[in-house]
Amino acid sequence: MKTIKLKKESVQLVKDVLKDIKASSDLGIYKCVQCGMCTSVCPGARETDYDPRDMIRRVLEDDETVIDDDNIWNCFSCYTCNSVCPCGNNASEINQILRQMSIDKGEGMKKIVGFAAYGDSFIELGVGSIPSNFFDVMVKDIGLGYMDLKINIEDIRADLGLGSYILPKKAINEVESILDNSGFKVRLEKIKRCK
């Protein structure tokens, strides 16, 4: 049987993954037995060449090229892998950490620049939304009724007895200040520049 032999000097990547802020305190990557349950239930693996089992093997073998592998961008973040793992590993979480490593290196920014409008509207309004640049394609796919919904949303909300969903100015200022001091604004500008 093929086993993964961890060399003492070559576990930098797995160490970096485990010390990432996203890594859960009980993340069981060292317990992975390469059973493949994760890949067998993965919608990304079913539809694309993404293979969470192989991604975990490469992390354990300190293969840093996994960070640059386009396939890590095919994870659906559905965590089905996490829910069936017999070892307490969480391939979905590790995928998110690898993507952030790719973003930090610069390459990954190209993958997410198309979603930058989410950050802009969050800073402006304190609420999330589907990035505005996808609106046209959604209207094309869904129909003109979708545009009517967007135009009339405040009236519809009023009919339902709901107030405005946009935060009061003082609250937006608090959110903006937090996103300034957390480094998010600088991060977003960097992402946008990668166009």
Partner: protein, 327 residues
Amino acid sequence: MKFIPDKDILLFKSCLVNVEYPGVESSTRYIFDRINVDYYVDERQSCCTGLGYYYDIFDQISTTALAARNFNIAQETGHKNIAVMCATCYTILKKSANILNQNEEAKNRVNEILYDSHLEKREYTQGDMDPILNIFHVAEIFFNKREEISSLVKVDLTGLRVATHHACHYCKVHYNDTIEGVRDPNLIDKLAEAVGVETIGWYDHKRVTCGAGFRQRFTNKEASLAVTAEKLQALKENKVDLLLHMCPNCQMQFDRYQPYIEEKLDTEFNIFHLNISQFIALAIGADPYKILGIQTHTVPIEPLLKRLNFSLKSNKKVDVEAKKSLN
């Protein structure tokens, strides 16, 4: 089973409920008002960042700092329990609470960000928010009060073939906290049962994702919709009339894209989509337009209501528009 509260609740606003299916919020409030749940909505609460987090635009520390602010708002108003209508809010808030409680370095960094933002009053102290005891999905609150819900049922919804879609971010992330099944999820099935409807229970693909996959819907559309189509096909094979949801993003994927997939595959699914809050509200007498907000749906709900012999005269203005969209 874990303790589920019915008071001191902050009903946490969701971005996709806000602008896609606001009727989920009005339905939730309608039910809460009738089963004596003490809740509050705070206009200062920011979004959880969930979509941006899974688009990989948001970094963990920014998401966690905003969560700390929202946790503080919940606490300062005496509503330490948070109830969410979106499964991604559920997982994001639990993740952030875990980080704040378990990772001292991250907690200190968040507090530093709050100080620098002149928000010292919102400082997070370890244990302020317990992810197990204080963060819930509204479906869990309904489940805890299901006997009261049963006693309020006014509308007979039997005769429909109903299936459920349990959101991944409720079932599969913090799965030790999930109630009524992870591998065979039944939380929404039991809520349907509480209003007198027996669902089809297990079906092939029951626990499969909706397919939205955050970025996948936009950057990998074919793969995303293939996953959705397979689930719709499994539901069609089971002759399902209505699929019940617990997450607005899943609901979007199915309701907004079902007609598109039908056209691409040259097939008809004819499946209606309602959130569990909308379904319970309907069963206990809520108006389809003024409370359920069915006017924001892409797959029209009117044919379903006609099958149930509903009178659709409650909102003439919207009713005319709805009829137009049916033609």
